[in-house]
């Protein structure tokens, strides 16, 4: 029979992307956020928007971290909220794509301005606003890619950043 050893090393912290289909009703986001803050779970990123107007369904995508036992708890706790239809742990359920968009404002002139534009090109960021002294870039990609781009812009006159948070979806034809 399985003797359970006394825990010695703390279990590893994992990062999971969780996709939740909920009724789009007042208070549903507060319920989800309250669950995370009330039980001391981490939220690295959270996005929400209506995805089916007729059925008034929204999708919430949460990136969270925790031990395997905590991640399991998070999913069980989400699952028992009344307006929650389905909880999917994308990290566990096979390959998935994860994207985030950022708007990045950079101000400057001369060489720095030229360099910012050149790097934006390398990162496939689009210029969505331009003045003589500034750009707003739109960049979409993985979180780390955005981090790197923003890090570089910091040296070239970064004024501000606005990020959407992560949205995600499983690969292949299967739906949720």
């Amino acid at each position: 029979m399985t003797a359970r050893p006394v825990l010695s090393a703390p279990p590893a912290i994992e990062r999971h992307t969780i996709s939740i289909l909920v009724d789009n009703e007042p208070g549903v986001l507060a319920r989800v956020i309250g669950l995370f803050s009330g039980r001391g779970y981490n939220i690295e990123s959270l996005t929400v928007a209506e995805v089916d107007r007729d059925a008034t369904l929204s999708r919430i995508t949460i990136v969270t971290t925790g031990t395997p036992m905590i991640i399991e708890q998070i999913k069980a706790q989400l699952g028992r909220l009344v307006p929650v239809h389905r909880v999917h742990d994308l990290t566990m359920e096979g390959p998935f794509v994860e994207r985030e968009t950022a708007l990045v404002k950079v101000a400057g002139t001369g060489e720095k301005r030229v360099e910012a534009l050149r790097l934006a090109d390398v990162f496939k960021a689009r210029v969505v606003d331009a003045t003589i002294t500034s750009f707003v870039f739109e960049i979409t990609g993985q979180g780390e890619e955005l981090d790197r781009f923003i890090g570089l812009m910091a040296e070239l006159g970064l004024v501000g950043v606005s990020r959407t948070g992560v949205v995600a979806m499983s690969r292949g034809p299967g739906g949720i």
Binding site: T2, R4, G27, H85
Partner: protein, 591 residues
Amino acid sequence: MSAATSETSLTGADIVLKALRDQGVEVIFGYPGGAVLPIYDALFQQNDIRHILVRHEQAALHAAEGYARSTGKVGVVLVTSGPGATNAVTGLADALMDSIPIVCLSGQVATHLIGNDAFQECDTTGITRPCTKHNYLVKDVNNLARTLHEAFYVAKNGRPGPVVIDIPKDVQFAEGTYRSPADSMPKSYRPQVKPDLNRVEEAIDLLAKAKRPIFYVGGGVINAGPVASQLLTQFVRMTGYPCTTTLMGLGAFPASDRQWLGMLGMHGTYEANLAMHGCDVMVCIGARFDDRVTGKVSEFSPNSVKIHVDIDPSSINKNVRVDVPIVGDAAHVLEDMIRIWKARGKQPDKAALAQWWEQIEFWRARDCLRYEKTSKVIKPQFALERLRAAISGRDDVFITTEVGQHQMWAAQFLPFDRPNHWMTSGGLGTMGYGLPAAIGAQVAHPDALCIDVAGEASILMNIQEMATALQYRLPVKVFILNNQYMGMVRQWQELLHGGRYSESYSEALPDFVKLADAFGGVGLRATEVGQVDDVINEMISIRRPVIVDMCVDPKENCFPMIPGGRAHNEMLLGPDEKVENATPEDGMVLV
């Protein structure tokens, strides 16, 4: 408006009453105020639903809990906005922790005033969100009926819990259409009640091969209805295995059965805790591995395979990792377990089981609940033993408690042979629970004997409910084990804080006999052993509310006890055991 539609068009207040009737509600517990006057007016004009006027909204919740736990029905509460709703919060949190089905209606300021800091406005759904299973704010009268029916569905299905419906005053006045319960199901909430049979097979295999098995049974079996307790009893007897129950599970298995080891956990019996520690297969049914039960988690039952039956997936693998999780309703799962055990022709390992019982009887022989016999001063345990003798053989006795040492002694010394006759605040540990809960039980069972085993400190937290008992001629008994201390606090201060009794002495106590009299009830007092039986018999014979002031030994402590942060095999059995270092340093922070 055509005649046909006007027939189904009702005011919001009438919709509330009609929905309650359609849900089979007979009694509601409440307290009026400006924001619920239309509902009170509708109540006034009908006779199907009885309203019990409490004296504090917290008590309305506890009374509804007592009503619900003693009947298996949903308890219903009506409170006003603002302070009415905030007073209800403790009771909601209590019902959430103990999985009690409650529907609580609260009044709210008119829709157009919400958010304006209107008179007696508070964000009721915001405040109650973390202490309810679910809550609603109804802004459209046409959603009112559906929401009410859905609330009952949510409160009683899956893991039961409290649900709040906040109803603005204009919605109570507005006219709208009624919908029946049948077409008001929630869109998404469908808890799993039938288990995965492969898991049940796996569990039965493990159980049949076990050499040192144990059933660890909790309040979930009571939630699953009396049939679950019957099935449990049948299955435990079929196997011949030992069974222990949590504080919330008392009564799920007959206390008079030899196979019952008593309650487990912090103040559980020696034999139950050591059997949990030493077992090789544990079947947990409807219990949640609470910290009061497990003690030090890393040393909890270190060598067992664990099977866990629970209707709430979030209870599984929360505190303790288990090997065979079974999601489902306890009654369904037990039925499947019995069927599969029989179908597979399973037999317990007789030789191993005999040895296991021999070991358990050896532990049982320690007689861990024994206490010093005295000739004059009343030991609290003695008072409860005499109460037990006085009620033995009766099946119409409902016991509630407050919180503290008296609660633990009641759990240890009173006999619970059937479910739904024991009501206590386990998860939240709410002082002030017992008297209103006894009132709720008495409302449901007018001829029964409903006794609140109380402490002199706790009882003062909802003593005003004596007036409720008098008003409705509810002959509840308040059995105070008066030790003049917040005994449980004092015991911890002895164990952890060098005996410095900071603020735990019950100073300036009222004269409880006169207090009973002032409310219009009867007060009785016993100060020495010779008076105990007479007082108990008199209490039972009086068909009116009674307060008994049982003056007990002020220094008695509750044993056995597993100090915070200790394992099951590190129990203190009595006052003579060394208390220094009883609690390891990392245990100090635990409550």
